[in-house]
Symmetry: D2
Subunit: 134 residues, 4 copies
């Protein structure tokens, strides 16, 4: 599991009084950063050498998130395929689950934009972050 703490910003709320729905994908994106490091240990997070692309994203909104309290984002790898993987994420506040999401990410060559198999060495390192969503 990867773990990230988010401090909500005033501008991330909306006039309905809670965190706007479109903000959750931004927090989840932020919490997936360690995956890029795992995928390219030597790249130093250089976005020009980014080799993971988002093919699909799903978010389920269980409860509205509040301003003024930290949000915990828990990130798991829930499936590893040949060249793609599923990343399952949870947003927690006040020790309650508020939103969940799944991102389907594809490994690709950053120059040709063609999909590439995920190397076995990376798959092994992914193991400790593995979890199936309940």
């Amino acid at each position: 599991m990867f773990y990230e703490i988010i401090k909500p910003r005033v501008g991330e709320t909306d006039a309905l009084g809670y965190i706007n729905n479109t903000v959750i994908p931004q927090w989840f994106e932020c919490a997936r950063n360690p995956l890029f490091k795992l995928m390219s240990p030597d790249s130093n997070l250089d976005l020009r050498e980014w080799n993971l692309t988002l093919a699909k994203m799903t978010v389920d909104f269980q409860m509205p998130l509040q301003f003024g309290y930290d949000v915990e984002i828990k990130t798991f790898i829930s499936r590893v395929g040949n060249s793609s993987m599923d990343v399952y994420q949870e947003a927690w506040q006040h020790n309650q689950l508020h939103a969940t999401g799944t991102a389907v990410m594809v490994h690709l060559d950053f120059k040709s934009r063609k999909s590439l198999p995920i190397p076995d060495s990376v798959k092994q390192k992914m193991h400790i972050h593995f979890s199936s969503p309940n």
Copy 2:
């Protein structure tokens, strides 16, 4: 169908050179505004009387969207249930489909936050925006 034109902003691109993935849900949200008008014809888009909530959202990214060219958002109602509905949306650029999404929206009382049946009068008006995704 509801139709919206979006002019991408520099700040909506990211260092990979295209529109950032987390921006598409913001454009789709914007293009769903007419639904609220349909749901509460007299509310004048007052967010304190907002009576639709997003329960789930899915986005499929087919091709990266570019800065410098208008994006067309097409919004369809693809399912109407008792108190919820599916809104299917497409983002087009250069006459090519770049991203699609589905939002599951629930009709609720804006004070009690309890789900409410969608009135028949509204269902009838929804008819002309109805379409099943291919």
Copy 3:
């Protein structure tokens, strides 16, 4: 003058009930796009050949902007120097001025990032957009 219409998004409001202050710079940035076209008529808004950089920005908030109503952004060139210029902008809603801002922009070579004189041919074209803020 350059003229742009903005349709506020739900996610651009905040829990205080109006458009969040940090959104105005995003709208102003969007309304400055035609300046890049003026500066490099052949570049087709390619961000890799962007040759104007923001050195300083000031925003004055007179009245809070509302969701549900179009916002008009008026953009003027208020000063042209050797390699820099001031861009003065206004945000109007309901025919009332709500916010103003000034952006100091520097013309530079997009490869070396060194400042460059603004060509006389461009200065001449800027003339019709010229106006001093009152």
Copy 4:
């Protein structure tokens, strides 16, 4: 001084390769949160009781900020008037100053939206955060 660490998000970069200029006001807003706590010690950051409003904001961009490295935001109170104050902020990365800004904030009654004197008890607490920009 108030101190905040920001972890840049991919979506906060733009196609020019660095953090987009319009993001800095969002980070500065986030770093001003402790001021609201100072102003209303009992309000628990409830946005409906928010009693500080932004009248004016200035940002100077010295160097473009990078993705992949933490940003430190330092927040000082640089002037306290009768009902308003200036908040001076700095964004640091790699121990170098990258951007500075000043926010003019007005103390007001959150119901009537009329300006209110800043109480002496609050002014005293502000003392330890006081600093004049160099």
